[in-house]
């Protein structure tokens, strides 16, 4: 059985934003854990959520659904939402699925926060 690895790290940015870093693969095996982690975050209009995905190596359609879950969770809490550090592949998946129209992609966390904060 192959290893399905996704590392999740949450930290609070000095500005107060929640930054969730994803490292590894986001797919059928790991997506539920992202959803559970996002659900536990307390977000509000003053606490934006930034997903830091520069080390996310793989994301399939179930991974996209999990990212959308995070987006909708932030939206429901009126929290600003952004994705930072998406590589070429991930950006292309966002483009194909059309979800790049829902939120902006930023180079890094600071730029994302400058844009949405």
């Amino acid at each position: 059985m192959p290893d399905y690895v996704l590392a999740l790290a949450v930290h609070t940015h000095p500005s107060g934003a929640s930054v969730l870093s994803l490292t590894g693969e986001l797919d059928y095996h790991t997506a539920p854990r992202l959803c559970r982690t996002v659900e536990k975050l307390s977000l509000d209009a003053a606490t934006p959520l930034v997903l830091e995905v520069s080390s996310l190596l793989f994301c399939d359609s179930i991974g996209v659904t999990a990212l959308l879950f995070a987006y909708r969770h932030a939206l429901a809490a009126s929290a600003p939402f952004a994705v930072a550090g998406a590589g070429k592949d991930l950006a292309q998946i966002f483009e194909i699925t059309g979800i790049d129209r829902l939120f902006d992609l930023h180079e890094d966390v600071d730029r994302a926060l400058a844009a949405i904060g």
Binding site: Y28, D60, L68, I96, G98
Partner: protein, 548 residues
Amino acid sequence: MTTGPITDGAAATILVLDDNDTNRYVVRSWLVRAGHTVVEAADGTEGLALLAAARDPDLPELAVVDVQLPDMSGFEVCERIKADPRTASLPVIHVSATAIEVDDRAQGLHRGADAYLTEPIAPSELLATVTAALRYARARRRAERLAARVATLNRTTLAVYEVTGAEAFTSAAAGGAATLMASPAVALALGPDGQAVHVAVAAGPTAGDAGAPACPGRAEAGVLDQLTDHALGDATGAATAVLSGADWRAVAGRLDGGLADLFPGEVAVLLARTKQGRPPVALAVDALALAGPDDRGLFSQLGQACALALEAMRSRSEEHALVLTLQRTFLPDRLPEVAGVDLAVRYEPAADHAEIGGDFYEAIETPAGLLLAIGDVAGHSLKAAMVMGELRHALRAYAIEGHDPQTLLDRLDSLLVRLRPMMTATVCLVLVEPGGRRIQVANAGHLPPLLRHPDGSTRYLTEHGILLGLNLPHPPAASHRVPAGSTLLLLTDGLVEVPGEDLDDSLAALGSALSAAPQELGELCDLLLDSFGKAKTDDIALLAARLH
């Protein structure tokens, strides 16, 4: 040290270690009169050498050691006996001459001795002490052996649950039975296909270089029925029968591979099943291996563990087959025949056990032309497959009403948001207008369709909107002129998305492959699946259309 069943009061082989010939003679005669066997040594070196040289079955079960020996003290001898793992559980009884201080006695016991007798020793006292020490040592050895066997049982239980496939299962069961029962062992179980009985053999621990006979592999199903006639019948649980050599040979005659002579005498056969009406698992070992109550209990537990594991394996296999059958019913059972358009589809379920994807395809004749569709409901579950079925049927219903592709996507989006909140799906629709010279592409977040021109050049039709499930509007369909002889390929991401591979590269490679692919659609699909569908963990759906 024998490991077979020994009653606590049975006679033992005892080492008498004393440099005084008279004392040794006296002690020996008392022990022999009580039925014990005695081996003698005159000093520590000789005594330890004797223990080291003894083969396991001949190892003394107890040592009577004089405290004062010429070469070393009896205490030291005792310490060395207890330090060697092979003799650590050998009880030691010290004997010493009179005028020994209380401290010496305490020292002897502190340094490992099990008893300490001071002369004058009465025969009855020595014999009673020997009996008590043997009782304790034998109980301890039995407990240690049982603990080791329970560990073996646990390991085997894990092994039979971990394996996939009937062949690996019977191998694990036979190997576990051979180790647990210290006997050659045979395991039989009906494979998940319900046809062939899988047979595995394991040599016992005493097998020579020849080991077990070659694994016979398979046998006809009737052999299990024949065994259930001896034990268990139609009942559930576990039952053991002892078969005569002749009865066993009647069974073994139906299994190739020389199993008839695997056992020297009678054969214990255990049958176990967890549910009524299910084929049982069968284990066979030498009947002599079932002499004690521990043996019978452990063997029975092994049988039940195997039966549970087999049932779990069978359930998984049945579930997977059921899910695949269900999934097939959600997909079209035939494609429409439309003048001027050839169609071919391929559907490859994910390889993983009991995982099921939500890929789908569809081809429907509508008033506005032939509507082709491909889609993917995110998820590997029965739910994803069911939602796929719902979407596909909804698409048919809306398409028959004559809606344009953009409206169809909006309707499907509304339906998904209302009926299945939090689920998403990507769908790509291609309407081939009557005459086949123009197509309309409406893509909700799905991989773009790939078009091959008659000259072999390919391009992706990339206009698209957002995926379904977000309650967002979709753009109008994009219209493309297609020359006669064009080929259109709709696909799901299982064909091109691979961890560690660049998606752009995969899409470009697919474009090149389609350029060079044969004209015939079936061959074309098979070639693409062969080149791109290897080692994929996701479902793959392909729909190819040739427009004349």
